[in-house]
């Protein structure tokens, strides 16, 4: 079991690596200066104020923001559940706003969508729910049977085909939602806070499933969430939204390593603790000038711990680890360490200089 798991993980790591370096990539969804205004009680609300983003084929692209940031509206412009007031949304090279109603309906079959509240038909069985998108396009009964059976087996609910949604747990309902979204063989999946109503364990299993959807069916996923954990778990690219604009975007690893905006920093902090624990201050008070305390952020296999051991080896210094928090982002270690370096002030200065030259971010705590 553990061996299998390890092989699986390392395989996936390789895939992630390959994906990150395979260029150029095909554009899947492009938002160009997308604006959306709503009128509400005589007031004009600007939900989107000129959003420009590109989601590439094969991405699991996460859009994160607090509620009211406009991310939900942005997601809905992709299948025109919300029509942009101005700007364009291009899906697979087509500007959907120029399509006729009938053409748009066809395009929608290529864009699956899942929801926070699942939005399943309570009056229909699991089978009928998953079959619904196929029935809407008059798919032959035999094809429907086979496709639904295949999808239910993919999401692990083959035994629940005859159950009704109110007999299922939240996680199972979302699995049905995912199966339904995949019924018409889409190339894009839109996820609207799909795990926000679920507990942490269930969230993890649904995220695993979405990863499989991305890999096995080669479906590009655009997801919105307010949980940085979700971004950390499965996204390769991320955009941070605030007040209807994208304030920051890029590779997930880069954002975790070097968040540029206050909002992004706060989201990163929500999953990776980088505040300074009280014990560090106690150590600081006791150090009496014989040592200094540094905080080191690092990303990547050989950076963090190696730097620390090199400092101890190369310089006449004692290094104490006061605090450490290392987690993994898409197979890459990522962390935050607080170390105390003791020795003569000249040695400490040299050590500090050395650390600064490494591929880490370091700052003195005083």
């Amino acid at each position: 079991m553990s061996l299998l798991e390890q092989t699986d993980t390392s395989l996936r790591q390789n895939e992630v690596q390959e994906q990150r370096y395979a260029l150029p990539k095909e554009k899947k969804i492009e938002f160009l200066q997308v604006e959306k205004k709503f009128e509400s009680g005589g007031k004009i609300i600007e939900a989107l104020k000129g959003v420009t983003l590109t989601v590439e084929k094969g991405d699991i692209f996460g859009v994160i923001g607090f509620s009211g940031a406009g991310k939900s509206t942005l997601l809905r412009t992709v299948n025109l559940l919300e029509r942009p007031t101005s700007g364009t949304v291009i899906v697979d090279g087509k500007d959907l706003t120029t399509l006729s109603v009938a053409q748009l309906r066809r395009v929608k079959k290529d864009i699956g969508m899942i929801f926070q509240q699942f939005n399943l038909l309570e009056s229909k069985t699991v089978f009928e729910n998953v079959a619904m998108p196929l029935l809407l396009s008059q798919t032959p009964k035999k094809v429907v049977q086979e496709r639904v059976a295949e999808l239910l087996s993919f999401v692990g609910l083959s035994d629940k085909a005859k159950s009704f949604p109110d007999e299922l747990s939240g996680g199972q309902k979302q699995r049905v939602g995912i199966a339904r979204a995949l019924a018409t063989n889409p190339s894009i999946l839109l996820s609207d806070e799909a795990t926000s109503a679920l507990d942490p364990q269930t969230t993890e299993s649904i995220l695993e499933l979405l990863k499989r959807v991305n890999k096995e069916y080669n479906i590009t996923i655009l997801m919105i969430t307010h949980e940085m954990n979700v971004i950390k778990e499965i996204c390769n690219r991320v955009a941070v939204m605030e007040h209807g604009t994208v304030v920051e975007q890029g590779e997930v690893l880069d954002m975790f390593a070097h968040p540029q905006t206050e909002t992004a920093r706060n989201f990163v902090k929500s999953v990776i603790r980088d505040d300074i624990p009280p014990s560090v201050y106690k150590a600081l008070a006791n150090s009496r000038g014989q040592s200094k305390i540094y905080q080191i952020h690092f990303v990547g296999e050989n950076s963090g711990q190696q730097v620390v051991s090199q400092v101890a080896k190369q310089f006449q210094t004692q290094v104490h680890m006061l605090f450490g928090n290392i987690s993994e982002l898409q197979g890459v270690p990522f962390g935050n360490m607080i170390v105390e370096i003791g020795g003569s002030s000249a040695d400490i200065a040299r050590a500090y200089q050395y650390i600064q030259q490494q591929n880490v971010t370091v700052k003195e705590i005083s």
Partner: protein
């Protein structure tokens, strides 16, 4: 002078006839109107301010006219439609016009129970408005729709009591002409018992059907 059992059976038949036929026509009118009231409102799948703002007050006006007034007021229309303004069949026309808007409102209320998320999911799947109505809205509220029709049926039974005014007959008419106007207590008691049994029967039939649909 007491009523004969033959008269009672005749009255029961007339009531069932009026209720049955009126219900069919009132539903045929009320169901589409109720659906229209929902889908043409702001933000819904077939938003249409013109239709909604015309339909809504018309239904309100029809619903505020007391049945006994409506019965008499539309006599010319009734004559035009069924060739006579007197008799059981003639009573059906005002019953339909009275109950249709009522059913429309009940259906509207039922359909509004559907979670907006369901409609959003349907739109995301590329469902047409008709598909949304028949494959999403109606199946999701079928239990509630059955209860609405049950309520309307019972309302119809009440309204048929006044059908005597145009010679429609029925149990209510029997109660008024024999029981009330000729002081026949036994007739009143008998007709009330029949009505109670009828209403109870219809209500529990409706409940059972709705429960079956909702599987609870």
């Amino acid at each position: 002078m007491e009523v004969s059992s033959e008269q009672i059976w005749q009255a029961v038949y007339q009531t069932l006839y009026m209720v049955g036929v009126s219900l069919v026509f009132a539903t045929l009118i009320g169901l589409p109107l109720g659906i229209l009231l929902v889908v043409t409102r702001k933000g819904h799948i077939l938003e249409n301010q013109a239709i909604f703002s015309i339909l809504n007050p018309i239904i309100n006006v029809l619903r505020s006219v007391p049945f006994i007034i409506l019965l008499v007021a539309i006599i010319p229309f009734t004559r035009l439609l069924v060739g006579t303004s007197i008799g059981t069949t003639a009573a059906i026309v005002p019953l339909v016009i009275y109950t249709g808007p009522y059913i429309a409102r009940l259906i509207e209320n039922s359909l509004l129970e559907v979670n907006a998320g369901i409609i959003e999911a349907a739109e995301a799947m590329g469902a047409t408005p008709l598909q949304i109505i028949f494959r999403f809205l109606i199946p999701e509220t079928l239990g509630s729709l059955v209860l609405s029709i049950t309520t309307a049926t019972i309302g119809l039974i009440g309204a048929t009591a006044m059908a005597g005014a145009v010679g429609g007959g029925g149990i209510g008419d029997l109660a008024i002409t024999y029981g009330y106007q000729r002081f026949s207590t036994i007739t009143i008691v008998a007709t009330v018992i029949i009505l109670v049994v009828l209403v109870q029967g219809i209500q529990s039939l409706g409940n059972r059907l709705a429960r079956k649909i909702r599987r609870k």
